[in-house]
């Protein structure tokens, strides 16, 4: 039986080293509490922020018609009315501050000739309100965030994989357990507050435009600790991920490709968005574009290789070089010149719109001391996130949660409260974590991973139906109870063990995928990113509801462990009637 190798006491533990985690850590550390940031990968080189392309929404003052209220309405309507409006209000009001703050931290956004910001209009936004840095806005942002982080007293732990939240007898956060990826040390964190910044779960699909480790571990840990997670069926599909050339498969064709004028064609050379959305064409919302492409697939209009064409050839080459430099360079690197030839795209898993149910300080409504930020928090984006809303989201949620976490930690410190780590939870977790290393023989984690990816693509992706979802649920039940306990890592080394990492990731992969499938099964309508072939219409009369999932430890099978509940959407400022949603009455 292995021992706990290290106990680390800290006031605030931040889990995750993408943009949201860094912001939360910086903010918490400003207020004089000890902050530790643990990240599964490398700090500043993790998650999705460094790869984000498009822009950052929230610059309202340039266009006199624009306002936070317009951004609010765009976000709520773009999310098909599933957003938690109290969170959206906070988000749109504080987004402008995020843009200014980032320039103070060493970023600089593209300028127009008059010296003001060059603003881009993204799909679903009424006005151009997004600042950007070429098509590498995330790269610019992460440079500013890293800069600020190294100047703050945050203790950063690279490659420390947090596996479980520890909850004390009062039901509040007491810390977390983790394994060091580099040497397999088992670590217990004692903390007064934990901020989850672990991103989404796009990597439960084989084709995903998201960080490679984003398999929903934050949601999984939160659920196991007793928190509710919401809107999981709303997995956003990036409509224009690259399909061919295959070396770039799954890489996003930036939103900017379409906002700069890119056009979509099927195998007959037909610009099919004219058919589906004559008003918005290629700048319609992402879910709409994804479904339009799928309708083309179903009509037999996919290309020979299986995608549809995205063409920029009508745009002046110098505009492409200037406004889309990294798309141009990336695709050029595998032999296609987007100035002169089209390439093939397809929808890929992108952003997890749902997440942990939180209040306006981004604290879990169920577990005091547990915070969720960025993609890990649910509520802001409802059923569909608008382009360039995620980067300001991570700033606003990170700052708020960081502040709240530090205030909580300060309060507990003053009251002389010491986190009591429940030893039984630690012991149980240790056994689970080391088991795949110690089994004599068993199943390859990589083989199970790939089978599960295929299953998700087949039944739980862009087009779903009751039968397929039922099949997926049954198969995942079997994987969880019959295969997962037999997973074995090919060598028992505790040093940067690739298979061990994959084996541990299988838990959140299977658990959260099941929660997604069950949520999708419960929602008997089609809305935003959730499309049911057996219920193709949006049902505003019965389904202005969010689906929440909770964990029931007493159940025997995986599908029974996850309870789904539908509850009415949270409306504060814009009622469905004011918004003029169709089909509200009979």
């Amino acid at each position: 039986m292995p021992e706990v190798d290290e106990v680390i006491e800290t006031d605030v533990l931040v889990v995750g080293g993408g943009g949201a985690g860094i912001v939360a850590a910086i903010e918490a550390a400003k207020h004089g509490v000890e902050v530790t940031l643990a990240v599964k990968g490398l700090i500043g080189h993790s998650g999705c922020t460094p790869a984000a392309l498009g822009g950052i929404a929230g610059f309202y003052v340039r266009d006199p018609r624009d306002s936070w209220w317009q951004h609010f309405c765009d976000t709520v309507l773009g999310g098909s009315f599933l957003s938690d409006q109290a969170l959206v209000e906070v988000f749109v009001k504080e987004a402008p501050m995020a843009l200014f703050a980032l320039e103070d931290w060493g970023c600089i956004w593209d300028r127009d000739e008059d010296g003001g910001p060059y603003l881009r209009q993204f799909g679903g936004h009424t006005y151009a309100r997004s600042v950007s840095s070429g098509d590498r806005s995330g790269s610019e942002m992460i440079k500013g965030l890293k800069a600020r982080l190294v100047r703050s007293p945050v203790r950063v732990l690279d490659e420390v994989n947090v596996t479980k939240l520890l909850i004390d007898a009062r039901g509040e956060v007491a810390g977390a357990t983790a394994v060091s990826v580099r040497d397999g040390k088992f670590i217990v964190f004692k903390a007064k507050a934990v901020v989850l910044a672990t991103g989404g779960m796009g990597r439960v699909f084989p084709l995903a435009y998201t960080g490679d480790w984003n398999v929903g571990d934050g949601y999984y840990m939160a659920m196991l600790a007793g928190a509710r997670v919401v809107d999981l069926e709303m997995l956003q599909w990036h409509p224009t991920a690259i399909w061919w050339p295959p070396g770039l498969r799954g890489m996003a064709g930036s939103e900017a490709l379409r906002s700069e004028g890119g056009r979509l064609y099927n195998k007959h050379g037909e610009r099919f968005m004219i058919k589906y959305s004559p008003e918005w064409l290629e700048v319609a919302t992402r879910d709409f574009i994804s479904r339009s492409i799928y309708r083309e697939y179903m009509a037999g209009n996919a290309t020979e290789r299986g995608g549809v064409y995205l063409s920029l050839t009508h745009i002046p080459p110098e505009v492409i070089e200037k406004r889309l430099p990294s798309m141009f360079a990336n695709i050029k690197s595998v032999g296609i010149d987007i100035r002169t030839e089209p390439f093939e795209i397809t929808p890929a898993a992108h952003y997890t719109d749902g997440g942990v149910v939180v209040n306006v300080m981004f604290e879990s409504e169920d577990i005091p001391g547990l915070y969720a930020v960025g993609e890990t928090a649910g509520g802001i984006h409802g059923g569909n996130r608008l382009g360039s809303n995620s980067l300001p989201d991570l700033m606003v949620t990170g700052i708020r949660a960081g502040q709240a976490a530090s205030i909580r930690a300060t309060r507990l410190k003053k009251a002389g409260m010491v986190a009591k780590v429940p030893q039984d939870q630690v012991k149980e977790e240790m056994q689970r974590v080391f088991a795949p290393l110690e089994r004599g023989d068993g199943i390859s984690p990589l083989e199970l991973r790939d089978r599960h990816l295929d299953l998700m693509w087949k039944y739980v992706s862009v087009i779903r139906d009751g039968k397929g979802l039922g099949q997926a649920v049954a198969e995942m039940d079997a994987m969880w109870s019959q295969e997962l306990p037999k997973v074995r890592v090919s060598d028992g080394s505790k040093t940067w063990n690739y298979e061990w990492l994959e084996a541990l990731d299988l838990y959140p992969r299977l658990f959260m995928s099941q929660a997604m499938a069950l949520s999708a099964l419960l929602r008997t309508e089609s809305r935003a990113n959730h499309y049911r072939e057996d219920y193709p219409d949006t049902d505003n009369k019965n389904w202005l509801k969010n689906i929440e999932v909770t964990y029931d430890p007493s159940a025997s099978s995986l599908s029974k462990m996850i309870k789904t509940t539908a509850r009415p959407v949270r409306v504060t400022l814009l009622t469905p009637e004011e918004a003029g949603l169709p089909g509200l009455a009979d």
């Binding site: 200014f100 320039e103 300028r111 800069a147 580099r182 050339p245 070396g247 990589l446």
Partner: protein, 513 residues
């Protein structure tokens, strides 16, 4: 719709991977694996395939898969690459980045160093809240070009001054971050003084970083732009001021007087004017060894039918170091002056043994001194042409194993990689061994361009060790500066047994046999 390869044909490729787990292995080893090929197959796709199908459990980092995060950098055939973008080819050798401790297999430890360095350079702005400040779009261009840097550490892992003398040179990755801030119009911190302090002038401008940057960033160009800022703000190390004085006062980078520089030509009877000018260069004319090569070169060219002229004591420095040290204004003036002199003497073609001068005349003069229609060739290009046209034929001098050291100006500035090898191949009896690191990986830069003596000699010694590894008896190179550096290194390392010879000299000998 399922994910299947759209191509019917299947073939496999073989990849060799560095394996080392310090927990269980005494020594690193290399193992070869098979992976299924697919058009534009990337290194990550191949490694994922190998781990699944061979259960190899190779440790490698993954990140965004978008060439954005810079986590997955590895070395492919000695050149840093992002594993998510590097196309896997049959026979590729995958290794961890050089210069960092290995955690396991392809995974390196860069955590502590990164944190320390960024803290030290106070990466980012001072953080005075200032709100949105208007700025001209053109003012942020350089900064923007460096934004796409993913801090992937690839350039550091291949940078000779950083690998050999990290105390004197902060590394291209960190310096690029400083320069990015330097060209941010909102920046308040004195980034110019900081860049100089962190070794801006210890960059040898060898372009190793630039030619291998996975994001194609012109790192070397940004170093030159930063040096121009250092000149404007007059924050210069004393050595650099001395170089400017030397060139402007004595017309020689090394401060050697004109009489001595022209001494090699005394008995050769080369006319002072003519259409084809032999440009001896500061590099070759400053030392006795270099001057000996000049005499050989001139004889050889004459023998091969070229009618040369030479300016003797009136030859001026082309000004290259002025440009590379950031003296933009002085370089412009110098280039205009030299261009005028050349036009007055009716020169139509320049032939020079110095790759640096050839680059300057060919690429920089048209930009800074206007077009002159003067053709520029290196002596090696002329030799190769004569060999190809059979105007000269080289004879065997006995069997000899040689290794070629690519001077940076020849390989990475002029792009001449194959040419010197073709010349060597045409000498009977010569067998060429290549150093373990691909030609692009580890050239040492022009010996004249690193300001610090210590940095230069350390790089030269490291390079000599690499060159000696393959068991060659002779090192052939094509720059007097590099020859001189390597000779010093051989002396310091007690490897005087290794002969270091200029390619021109070798060709001349093969003509005489």
């Amino acid at each position: 719709m399922t994910i299947v390869s759209a191509t019917a044909e299947t073939k496999t490729i073989k990849l060799t991977v560095y394996r080392f787990n310090p927990e269980t292995d005494a020594e690193p080893r290399y193992e070869t694996y098979e992976a299924e090929w697919l058009p534009s197959l990337t290194a990550i796709m191949a490694l994922t395939y190998i781990n699944k199908h061979s259960r190899a459990n190779i440790a490698f980092r993954r990140g965004c898969r978008e060439a954005g995060c810079g986590a997955c950098t590895i070395s492919v055939n000695g050149v840093p690459a992002l594993a998510c973008r590097a196309l896997a080819q049959d026979g590729d050798v995958l290794e961890p980045l050089k210069g960092y401790p290995v955690i396991r297999d392809l995974v390196i430890d860069r955590t502590q160093q990164t944190a320390e360095m960024f803290r030290k350079i106070k990466y980012g702005r001072e953080g005075k809240p200032i709100g949105f400040i208007p700025a001209k779009p053109e003012a942020i261009g350089v900064s923007r070009a460096l934004t796409i840097c993913a801090d992937c550490h690839g350039c550091n892992s291949i940078c000779p001054p950083w690998l050999e003398s990290p105390a004197r040179f902060v590394g291209p990755m960190y310096l690029a971050n400083i320069i990015r801030a330097m060209f941010n119009p909102l920046e308040e911190y004195d980034r110019v003084a900081q860049a100089v302090d962190m070794g801006l002038y210890n960059c040898t401008l060898c372009r190793a970083c630039t030619t291998s940057c996975p994001k194609d960033i012109e790192i070397t160009e940004s170093m030159i732009l930063a040096r121009q800022r250092a000149v404007e703000e007059d924050v210069l190390p004393e050595e650099v001021r001395e170089i400017r004085r030397n060139i402007l006062e004595t017309d020689s980078l090394y401060g050697v007087c004109g009489k001595e520089r022209a001494s090699w030509a005394t008995d050769l009877g080369i006319p002072k004017s003519g259409k084809t000018l032999f440009f001896a260069s500061c590099e070759y004319s400053a030392t006795e060894g270099g001057r000996a090569v000049l005499a050989r070169a001139a004889e050889l060219l004459q023998k091969a039918g070229s009618s040369l002229s030479y300016l003797y004591e009136e030859e001026q420095c082309c000004g290259a170091p002025l440009y590379f040290y950031g003296f933009q204004k002085e370089f412009r003036e110098k280039a205009a002056k030299v261009q005028k002199l050349l036009k007055e003497t009716g020169v139509e073609e320049i032939i020079t043994p110095s790759p640096a001068c050839a680059y300057t005349f060919r690429e920089l003069y048209p930009k800074y001194a206007g077009d002159s229609n003067i053709q520029v060739r290196t002596v090696l290009e002329v030799i190769l042409e004569k060999i190809r046209s059979k105007a000269i034929s080289l004879k065997a001098m006995g069997n000899r194993k040689v290794v070629f050291h690519d001077p940076a100006f020849l390989s990475r500035f002029l792009g001449m990689v194959e040419e010197p090898r073709e010349i060597l191949a045409s000498i009977p009896g010569i067998s060429l061994v290549e150093p373990k690191y691909y030609w692009g990986a580890n050239t040492m830069g022009d010996g004249g361009l690193g300001a610090s003596e210590e940095v230069n000699s350390k790089i030269a010694q490291a390079r000599l060790r690499q060159l000696a590894e393959g068991g060659a008896e002779t090192i052939v190179t094509a720059s007097a500066a590099d020859s001189a550096r390597l000779k010093q290194a051989a002396q310091a390392l007690g490897r005087e047994d290794m002969e270091i010879v200029d390619l021109i000299e070798l060709v001349a000998r093969a003509l005489e046999v």
